[in-house]
C-alpha cells in the first residue's frame, strides 16, 4: 500500500512520554491513530534522569494511571529501586518515586505499543495541512501527505534543538539524534507564537572509574509501593544509588571557568529553569553552600553508564571532567558523554484552551515540552489529556477538563494556559492550593468517575478500584458514627502521652489527634470484602485514617471551592472585546487579550490581574459588581 493512501483520524507527532500516552489512550478509545517518530527505536525514551515520580510528580503518575495512562505501569515493570519520598512529613506530600532501568523502560513501552496494535511510523513531520483553521493532515519530509482530522504535537526538545557544550554548538534534538525543522516555521506562519527555552542534562560516567567506597549508599523502601494501580505483584530490585559531595575546589574550578558555560544564566540565551539549576548556577548563586550533593544513579541494571544527578552543566567538556574529578571518590572518573544544555522551540501555552486544543486551529492539540513544561510526568499528564480530548474531538464527545481541585494535572494545565512561563514549568506540591486533597493515595477516588465516563480503564481495574473506594467509605462512616469507650482506648492514649477520655467518644474525634492512628482502635469489626488483597486493605485503612485526620481542613477547602465556583462558571464570551473597556490598565488589557480567559475564574488567576480589574470585567459583563453567594 502506498503511504499516500493512508488515512487516520489522529496523528500524534513524537514518541516521547507525552506522545505515547496520547496515542495509546486515543487508540484505546477506538480512534484510528498513527504515532510518528523520527526514530522508531527511541519511542518511550527517558532522555534525562533514570527515575519516574518524586515530589508532586509521583502524585501525577498515579493520576495518569487512573486516567488510563501507562507511565506508572511501565515504570513498575522496570523499577531498580522504589522509595516513597517525604515520609518524614505529612501524608499529602508523600510521593512515590522509582529509579528505573531506562533500557528496559523503552523496551517495555515499545513492546506494549506493538501488543495493542498501535501503528507507528518512522518519519519526520515538517508541516501541518490546514484549511480554514481546521486540520486536514500532515506532511512528511519526503512530501508524503497523511490525512487526519486531528493532530497532537509532542515534539519535546526537537524543534530546532541546539545543543551547547561549552562554546561548541550542535544542531540536534537530543544527544546523537537529529533535530526537527519546519513545524515551528509552519505554525508561526499560521499565527502561533513560539519562544525558546533551555534545559540541561548532566554527564554520564563510567561505573568502573568510580571509587564507590567513598560514596554513601541509598536504598529503596523495604515495603515499596507501585506507581500503577494495575500492578498486582510488586517486588522490585533494590539497587542502590550513591551520594557524593562537591567541595570548595570543585566550586573554585567552576567559577574560574564560568565564561565557558552556555548554561550560566548571565548569558544572553533562552531561559533555563531555576529549580534544577546547572552546577555553575548553583555554585555562583548559592556561594554560601560549601558543598552540593551528587547522586550517582545507575541507568539500567548494573549499568556501566551512570547518571550524575545534580551536576547538570554545559561547561566545556574538559572543565566538566576536571571539576568532577575534584570530588572525593571521582578522582579517576571518565565520561561516557559530557553534560550539555539544549535550546529548543516551544509554543506559548496561553494559546491553548484548557482542553489542550489550540484556540486558533481546531483539532490541533499540544502536549509536553512544546508547551513549555519540563519532566516526564508533566509530559505524560498532558499526553493523556491531549489524547483523550483529541479523541473526544474526533468522536464528537464533550472534552475532559480537570479542575484545580481534581488533580495536579488540573493545576498543571490551568497554570500553563494562564501564565506564560518564561522558564520550563515543573510541578511542585505548593502550586496546588488544594494539596491536602490531591494525595498520591487518593488519585483513584478523585478520578475514577472520569475514568468511567471516558472509558479509560479495563473492567477489572475499574471494578477493583470501585470496590476499594466503597470499602474506604464504609470505614470512614464507621469511624464517624461510632464511639470508643474509655476503658478500651485510655491505656493506649496514656502510652502515647495523650489526654485520656472520660466518657465514650467518637472514634473520629480521637483519631484527629496527631499521634493517634487507626490501628489503635479495634475496627476489624467492620466487614471488608474478602476479595480485597492485603495491599488494598492496607491502602483502605490508610486512606480512611487520612480522610478523618484532614477532614477539618478539607471541609474548609470544599467550602472555599463552592464559593469560587460561581466565578468558574461565569463564561467570558470568546468575542469579548477588551478594547471597549477603557478603564482597564493597558497592562491588564494586554494580558486579557493575549490569554483570552474562558471564565471569570481563569481571569482572576492571571498573574498581575487585580481585583479591581475583575470588578470592571463583571460590570461590563453585566454581572453584579459583587457576586452574592447562592444560598
Amino acid at each position: 500500500m502506498k503511504r499516500q493512501d493512508k488515512k487516520f483520524d489522529l496523528v500524534v507527532v513524537g514518541g516521547g512520554h507525552a506522545g505515547i500516552e496520547a496515542a495509546l489512550i486515543a487508540h484505546k478509545r477506538g480512534v484510528k491513530t498513527l504515532l510518528i517518530s523520527m526514530d522508531k527505536n527511541s519511542v518511550g525514551r527517558t532522555s534525562c534522569n533514570p527515575a519516574v515520580g518524586g515530589l508532586a510528580k509521583g502524585q501525577m503518575v498515579k493520576e495518569v494511571d487512573v486516567l488510563g495512562g501507562m507511565m506508572g505501569a511501565f515504570a513498575d515493570l522496570s523499577t531498580l529501586q522504589s522509595k516513597t519520598l517525604n515520609k518524614s512529613k505529612g501524608r499529602s506530600v508523600w510521593s512515590p518515586r522509582s529509579q528505573i532501568d531506562k533500557n528496559l523502560y523503552e523496551k517495555i513501552a515499545q513492546s506494549y505499543i506493538k501488543k495493542v496494535g498501535l501503528e507507528v511510523l518512522e518519519a519526520e513531520v515538517v508541516s501541518l495541512y490546514i484549511k480554514n483553521n481546521s486540520i486536514l493532515g500532515v506532511f512528511l519530509r519526503d512530501k508524503t501527505k497523511i490525512s487526519c482530522s486531528s493532530v497532537v504535537l509532542t515534539c519535546g526538545t526537537f524543534l530546532n534543538g541546539l545543543i551547547h557544550i561549552g562554546k561548541e554548538q550542535i544542531k540536534a534534538g537530543r544527544y546523537g539524534e537529529k533535530r526537527s525543522e519546519g513545524i515551528t516555521e509552519n505554525l508561526n506562519s499560521l499565527g502561533l507564537v513560539s519562544g525558546r527555552l533551555k534545559t540541561g542534562t548532566p554527564p554520564r560516567i563510567k561505573r568502573s572509574t568510580v571509587n564507590w567506597k567513598k560514596g554513601e549508599a541509598g536504598y529503596g523502601d523495604k515495603k515499596p509501593s507501585p506507581l500503577s494501580y494495575r500492578t498486582e505483584r510488586f517486588s522490585p530490585k533494590n539497587e542502590p544509588c550513591y551520594s557524593f559531595r562537591t567541595n570548595k575546589k570543585t566550586h573554585e574550578l567552576i567559577l574560574q571557568n564560568l565564561s565557558s558555560s552556555a548554561m550560566y544564566s548571565g548569558k544572553n540565551m533562552a531561559t533555563g529553569p531555576r529549580y534544577c539549576p546547572s552546577i555553575e548556577d548553583k555554585v555562583y548563586k548559592f556561594d554560601q553552600n560549601p558543598s552540593h550533593v551528587l547522586q550517582l544513579e545507575p541507568e539500567w541494571t548494573m549499568s556501566e553508564q551512570i547518571y550524575v544527578n545534580g551536576f547538570s552543566t554545559s561547561l566545556e567538556e574538559k572543565i566538566q571532567l576536571k571539576s568532577l574529578r575534584t570530588v572525593k571518590g571521582l578522582e579517576k572518573v571518565e565520561f561516557i558523554r559530557p553534560g550539555y544544555a539544549i535550546e529548543y522551540d516551544f509554543f506559548y501555552p496561553s494559546q491553548l484552551k484548557n482542553t489542550l486544543e489550540s484556540k486558533a486551529i481546531s483539532g490541533l492539540f499540544m502536549a509536553g515540552q512544546i508547551n513549555g513544561t519540563s519532566g516526564y510526568e508533566e509530559a505524560s499528564s498532558q499526553g493523556v489529556i491531549a489524547g483523550i480530548n483529541s479523541s473526544c474531538f474526533i468522536l464528537n464527545e464533550e472534552p475532559l477538563v480537570l479542575k484545580r481541585n481534581d488533580a495536579y494535572i488540573g493545576v498543571l494545565i490551568d497554570d500553563l494556559i494562564l501564565k506564560d512561563t518564561d522558564e520550563p514549568y515543573r510541578m511542585f506540591t505548593s502550586r496546588a492550593e488544594y494539596r491536602l486533597q490531591l494525595r498520591s493515595s487518593n488519585a483513584d477516588q478523585r478520578l475514577l468517575e472520569k475514568s468511567k465516563k471516558y472509558r479509560l480503564l479495563d473492567n477489572k481495574t475499574l471494578k477493583g478500584l470501585s470496590k476499594k473506594i466503597e470499602n474506604t467509605k464504609k470505614i470512614v462512616k464507621h469511624l464517624e458514627n461510632n464511639n470508643v469507650k474509655p476503658q478500651i482506648i485510655n491505656t493506649r492514649l496514656e502510652e502515647l502521652n495523650e489526654r485520656p477520655i472520660n466518657e465514650p467518644t467518637r472514634i473520629s474525634n480521637i483519631l484527629k489527634r496527631p499521634k493517634v492512628s487507626i490501628s489503635d482502635f479495634k475496627i476489624d469489626v467492620v466487614q471488608l470484602e474478602n476479595s480485597l488483597t492485603t495491599h488494598m486493605k492496607e491502602e483502605i485503612f490508610f486512606e480512611a485514617e487520612t480522610i478523618i485526620k484532614y477532614s477539618g481542613y478539607i471541609n474548609r477547602q470544599k467550602e472555599e471551592i463552592d464559593k469560587i465556583k460561581v466565578y468558574e462558571e461565569m463564561i467570558i464570551p470568546e468575542q469579548f472585546d477588551y478594547n471597549n473597556i477603557k478603564s482597564l490598565s493597558n497592562e491588564s488589557r494586554e494580558k486579557f487579550i493575549n490569554i483570552k480567559p474562558q471564565t471569570i475564574g481563569q481571569a482572576q488567576r492571571i498573574n498581575g490581574i487585580r481585583p479591581s480589574d475583575i470588578s470592571i470585567l463583571l460590570v461590563y459583563l453585566k454581572r453584579p459588581f459583587h457576586v452574592k453567594q447562592k444560598k
Partner: protein, 428 residues
C-alpha cells in the same frame, strides 16, 4: 455616562465644589461656560463665567479640568469651585443634567476611581474614612492610608509570612532529605512576631476607634449629685431634666460633644441607689451597662468608689456649697461652672493618655480581616507546638496571608515559589 454632584457639604458656605466626571464631561461643562477655553487634551484651571441657557452669567467660578486617566476618578473630570450659594449649586447641577449627565450616587466618584484602578480597596476605604471621620486624628490616619501607609505595613507582615511559607514549602516540596534542623524554632519565632504585630494593629485600631467614632463617657453617681447638671454644663444646652426629686433621670440621655478636638459621646444616667421603683431599677440597670462599655466614667460625689484603673475620674461636685467628704481627683461646681474647664482637660488626658494616636486600620472591615488573619496564624502556632504535620501548618499560614490579601493586593503561588527559588538552592 457622565455623573455630577456637589462634593462639599450642603448649606451656605464660602465656596462649593461641583464635580462632573465622565467621558464627555469637559465638553458638557463647556456648554455653560462663557468662551470656554477647555479641551480634551490639556488639563487647565481658569476663572470663568458660568452662563445660563440664555447666555447670562450667573456666577464667576474657578473651573479645573483633568484629563483621564490623570484624575481622581481616572476619567475626564471637571471641578467647578463656585460660590457656596445653594441656588448657584443647584443651577450648575441642573445645567449639567440638561446636557446629559446624571446625578452621582453617594460614593460613586470613589467607586469610579476604584473601578478605574486609581485606588485599591484600602485606599478607597481611607477616602470614606476621611470624609466620615469625626476628628482630626482620624483624618490623619485616613490620609496616611491614602498614601499607602497601611498597604506598606501589611505588605511587610505579609512578606514575613511569605518567606516563612517559602521556608516550609522548601522543606515539604523540594528538599527530599529530612527537615532543616532549626526550621521549627525559627518558624515559631516568626509566627510569634506576626501574632504580636497583628495584635498591636487591632489594639491600636480599638484605641483609636474613638478618634473616628467618638469616645463614650458616662456620668455615674448617687441621685442628686448633680449628674444632669454637669451633663448640661458640658453639653452647653439644657438637655437633661434637672430637679431636686431623686430619680428623675431614668433613661440614659446622650449627646455628641467635642472635648478639645476629641469627639465624645456623653451619657447621663439614672442615679444609683437602692430602689423599689421598677422603672427606676431598669434605669439603674442601664447605668451599669453603659458604664461597663464606656471608655471613661465620671463618678460624682461617691466617696466609697475609688477605682484607680484610669477608667474612672472621681469628681466632687457642689464644691460651691459643700466640703469634700473623701479623696477626689477634682473638685468642681457644675452649677457655677467652676473648674469645669479643668475637668475637660482631665477627661481629654485620661482618654488619650497612653493610647496610640497612630493607627493603620481605618475601617471595621480592615480590622475584621486582621482579626481573621490573627486567628489563623494563632491556629498555626498551636499546630506547630502540637507537633502537627507541616502541610497543615502551611494551610493555616496561607489562610492568614489570604485575609491580609483582602486589605492589600493578592499573594500568588508564584510569590511563594519566587521566595523559595531566591533563597534556596533547589537542587534536584
Amino acid at each position: 455616562m457622565t455623573i455630577v454632584a456637589c462634593s462639599t457639604p450642603p448649606g451656605i458656605s464660602g465656596i462649593a465644589v461641583v464635580r462632573v466626571s465622565g467621558k464627555n464631561s469637559i465638553e458638557k461643562v463647556s456648554s455653560f461656560i462663557k468662551d470656554s477655553p477647555f479641551n480634551k487634551k490639556t488639563p487647565l484651571s481658569k476663572i470663568c463665567f458660568l452662563v445660563d441657557k440664555d447666555g447670562v452669567a450667573f456666577d464667576e467660578a474657578v473651573v479645573t479640568s483633568y484629563i483621564g486617566p490623570n484624575s481622581y476618578t481616572g476619567e475626564d473630570l471637571v471641578e467647578i469651585s463656585c460660590h457656596g450659594n445653594p441656588k448657584i449649586i443647584s443651577k450648575i447641577i441642573d445645567l449639567a443634567v440638561d446636557v446629559g449627565s446624571r446625578l452621582a450616587e453617594p460614593g460613586e466618584f470613589t467607586k469610579t476611581a476604584f473601578l478605574n484602578g486609581k485606588l485599591d480597596l484600602s485606599e478607597a476605604e481611607s477616602v470614606s474614612s476621611i470624609i466620615h471621620s469625626m476628628s482630626i486624628v482620624g483624618v490623619k490616619a485616613g490620609v496616611k492610608n491614602l498614601k499607602g501607609g497601611l498597604s506598606e505595613k501589611i505588605k511587610l507582615i505579609k512578606s514575613n509570612l511569605i518567606s516563612l511559607v517559602a521556608n516550609l514549602e522548601f522543606n515539604l516540596d523540594i528538599s527530599e532529605e529530612d527537615l532543616q534542623p532549626d526550621l521549627l524554632e525559627s518558624s515559631e519565632k516568626t509566627i510569634k512576631n506576626v501574632i504580636c504585630w497583628l495584635e498591636k494593629c487591632i489594639i491600636t485600631f480599638n484605641e483609636t476607634k474613638m478618634f473616628h467614632s467618638g469616645a463614650s463617657v458616662v456620668i455615674l453617681g448617687p441621685p442628686n449629685a448633680g449628674k444632669s447638671t454637669l451633663f448640661n454644663c458640658l453639653v452647653d444646652k439644657n438637655q437633661s431634666i434637672v430637679t431636686n426629686v431623686e430619680g428623675t433621670t431614668r433613661d440614659v440621655v446622650e449627646k455628641n460633644i467635642d472635648i478639645n478636638g476629641l469627639p465624645v459621646i456623653l451619657k447621663d444616667t439614672a442615679g444609683i441607689r437602692k430602689s423599689e421603683d421598677l422603672v427606676e431599677k431598669v434605669g439603674i440597670e442601664k447605668s451599669f451597662n453603659e458604664a461597663r462599655d464606656a471608655d471613661l466614667i465620671l463618678v460624682l460625689n461617691d466617696p466609697d468608689k475609688t477605682f484607680n484603673d484610669g477608667k474612672h475620674i472621681h469628681i466632687f461636685n457642689k464644691s460651691d456649697i459643700e466640703k469634700p467628704d473623701g479623696n477626689y481627683d477634682i473638685l468642681i461646681s457644675a452649677k457655677t461652672g467652676n473648674n469645669v474647664e479643668k475637668l475637660k482637660k482631665v477627661i481629654y488626658k485620661s482618654l488619650v493618655q497612653g493610647k496610640a494616636h497612630d493607627t493603620l486600620l481605618t475601617s471595621k472591615r480592615q480590622c475584621l480581616a486582621v482579626e481573621s488573619s490573627l486567628k489563623h496564624i494563632k491556629e498555626a502556632y498551636s499546630l506547630l507546638v502540637g507537633e502537627n504535620s507541616l502541610e497543615l501548618l502551611v494551610e493555616d499560614i496561607n489562610r492568614s496571608i489570604h485575609f491580609l490579601d483582602e486589605i492589600t493586593s493578592k499573594t500568588t503561588k508564584d510569590d511563594i515559589l519566587d521566595a523559595v527559588f531566591s533563597s534556596f538552592c533547589v537542587g534536584k
